[in-house]
Symmetry: C2
Subunit: 368 residues, 2 copies
Amino acid sequence: MQNPPPKIKDVAHVAGVSTATVSRALTQPDRLSEATRQKVFDAIETTGYRVNQAARNLRTRRAGAVLVLVPNLGNPFFSAILSSMNDVLSANGYSVLVFDSQQPGASEQAVADCFLNGSVDGMITLDGHMTSTTAKALRNANMMRNVVFCCEWSDQWPLPSIRSNNGLGARLAVDHLVAQGHRKIAHVTGPASNILAEMRKSAFLQRCATHKLDVPADWVVQGDFSLMAGAQAADRILALSPRPTGVFCASDAMALSFIARCRQRGLRVPDDISVIGFDDIEMAAYAEPGLTTIRQDRAGLGRLAAQELLARLRGEQKTEGAYVIYAPVALIERGTTAAPQNATQPGANGRGGPEPATGFPEPVDKPA
Amino acid sequence: MQNPPPKIKDVAHVAGVSTATVSRALTQPDRLSEATRQKVFDAIETTGYRVNQAARNLRTRRAGAVLVLVPNLGNPFFSAILSSMNDVLSANGYSVLVFDSQQPGASEQAVADCFLNGSVDGMITLDGHMTSTTAKALRNANMMRNVVFCCEWSDQWPLPSIRSNNGLGARLAVDHLVAQGHRKIAHVTGPASNILAEMRKSAFLQRCATHKLDVPADWVVQGDFSLMAGAQAADRILALSPRPTGVFCASDAMALSFIARCRQRGLRVPDDISVIGFDDIEMAAYAEPGLTTIRQDRAGLGRLAAQELLARLRGEQKTEGAYVIYAPVALIERGTTAAPQNATQPGANGRGGPEPATGFPEPVDKPA
DNA sequence: CCACGCCATGTAATCGATTACATTATTGAT
DNA sequence: ATCAATAATGTAATCGATTACATGGCGTGG
């Protein structure tokens, strides 16, 4: 078995047929008679033959691989998504090539090259920013149709986008806090210019408006989804006066570090301040108290995106132009949200005496 | 640009040279005269030529890709490692193909096929269990030399292994607890038959013996690195009598959920029980209190493994057979470990009165 | 019995690069 | 000035599959 691996010619020889027949046995078995097909399969078995992918790829002009572009591979939020993508793609005979879009090096050109030199058939991008280098490469390689957005997206390109219903998620978060009696709600956003961050923020603001809540500008603090951002946001928000009683964080990572920082500064969650996150990462369920959050179906996002790409690779281009497929979101109520103290027992805030007058009316305006 | 992409022949024509010359300009520029080289590069520029990887791979019998085999892609512990591997591999012209070794489907055969059909040049495996299918494929493809273990490993194969010094890590953990006065230390292990779990556990037991600590069998509870396992372990350990005052968890995930569960049951960490983890995942620094843990250099592990594989792919097979490269570990002292209450102020345990007599001698035996 | 078409299979061109070998130009030593 | 060695480049074979086209056998309708 140390000798050169068997080629299609060897199989043909053993089976007593032509190379064309062997190739057909591999790619279109129905076109062969039962007898020859069996002969060929036997020969494949005895020789231990495996098709040479490079040769096949060269001839068929396919790569059998797709690229998954991840912004910051180190972010664990993506691992579940990557995992489910991998499941469905590899089950369909595609290899998964992973790239990190935020890698300092020449990664931008590397992505472009993947398409230009034909080493991938398509791409799922978790990064909503598509660089012009990439876009040009896609055009040149005529591969624009083989791209789908997942999680993040850009309206600039006529591509399908698999995403969570971020607006609904934000509304659920606000509604939940309001239902518990909160009227002073702050928001910690994702990174500036990130489409997810924008969606969640604008839906947050709109929903607050619907509930007739006033949201001063400095109650919306800029974050970036990261643990560090959550801690920093806590410092800013706890310094506010009047202090918000509820906080909607655009990611669970920020919510968890926000809570940790609150504790560190002597506040109790949810007693002194309620916090709700977004994502429902695994840790959310195992924190103490459990993190109330908006669940994203990460496995579903990955699966749907992979299936969508597969459909396109098969040529079933369902719809022209951009379209959206939503993955469900859901409120997961755990222990970090509760009625604000001054709502249930006004002035009972053990620390620092009664809340200063806020100047905001506090009508009871619970939505359905 | 919608027409068939330029081939080497087109470039040759534009540059007024032969295809061989163009090819040489690409692969061994030094062998050309300055003038022709420039002509060729100009022609490449004007035509927008990119080499076709499939054709190159077919001819050179290389794939330009390596496979990274991850046990459970969904586990965020691996993302930082994957990220740094990706950095160095893609900087060296290799694509990274990701597989999940615990995926239910025919992934085992899929990995084997990757080698047999020549679609990868080598592999880094984070999974210490190499299946016989995989091993046979590696032998047949004569690729056994192009494999390196990272994090986990198996002594069964003569391959390099990049790993943390798990034994040292466990000793640091024990020493730290002992230095704070703990004499009753429990351990939550990784999954059965996992080599990391075994290393940490045996080093833990040995070190405890060195310190003359008694470790009853039921103080070593079986976990599996996961959040759920940590919570379950907490239930078991808190039910112990006498109750351990310090716990060494074989992963940060388990440590964090262990702590959360302790809290949930009314115990304070570190006041009532000290907990030390292993890994130093990002969350460890942002928990409250910060998780004392043994840091693994995840980025370093990935980088070293990638570099080692690259060296092998270049044919610089430094050493015959198996050898080990250690990535450093370090004790990161944060807030979840402290002197046990009954050590500093015996009997002062606010909850449930004085600790019952343990039956264990408590000599003062602090190591250096 | 013939002609037509279909089915199973074979022959050979092809995908697009690399590279062994051949050829020509150049250099340097004697 | 001559010849060997070396450098620069070209010609064509090659990597290992797929597939267009060709071929021969067989069934069927007239």
